[in-house]
Subunit: 126 residues, 2 copies
């Protein structure tokens, strides 16, 4: 097997170089390399969609700060989690993972909202 | 403002019901509701793309278990993180967040790979 020359791969290491991989047949390493190419494409899509999501939540953060709305909204979060759990089930994704994922994203968003509020308060005090 | 009737929203609570929101003008609450609709659409896309990513990593997990390859691959992970940080910068997403996000996903994937390996070991011993 020759190392992948696909620039989308960006993996500098030939998987055949590790001690364990020397036991694996070339066909398995070729399959591994092909699936990794798919994963890399999916990850690029995820990053770009997440970038759009943060643009939207930044707009929410500014709106909330301008109107003295609290940075977090537990009722909305509860509804989002329930909805994503249902969507995950339909897509054969572990609903527990979907919930952990949304909680992870929301905690980052709230951190941003608090920072926006804090910046505005400092601006008002100055 | 009337509560959103958009079924994509799935938020059971009228944002105008909270004490803080009573201070906010209707136009702000309408804008908030519109942006939340966008966020809900983005989240549905994320869940479906993540479901495809886990299908791909499950194939990787089976391949690794069948060929006695280790569940984690630190060199590959390092390359993935560097690549996603660059993609995040280009998309105006915080690279720190992109790295935390990938680490979060990979830790879940490795947990799955270890479970597949463990199942196979138990199957061999039985």
């Amino acid at each position: 097997m020759t190392p992948s020359s696909d620039p989308a791969d960006h993996a500098p290491v030939d998987p055949a170089a590790s001690a364990a991989a020397r036991q694996a047949p070339d066909s398995a390493l070729e399959q591994l390399s092909a699936i990794r190419g798919t994963i890399d494409n999916i990850d690029a899509a995820l990053i770009h969609i997440l970038a759009e999501r943060f643009k939207a939540t930044q707009r929410v953060g500014r709106l909330k700060a301008e109107n003295d709305l609290p940075p977090s909204d537990p009722e909305r979060e509860k509804a989002q989690i329930q909805r994503l759990r249902h969507l995950a089930e339909a897509a054969h994704l572990d609903p527990e993972f979907a919930e952990k994922f949304l909680t992870f994203i929301i905690s980052e968003v709230i951190r941003h909202h608090e920072a926006i509020s804090e910046d505005r308060r400092r601006g008002t005090d100055a």
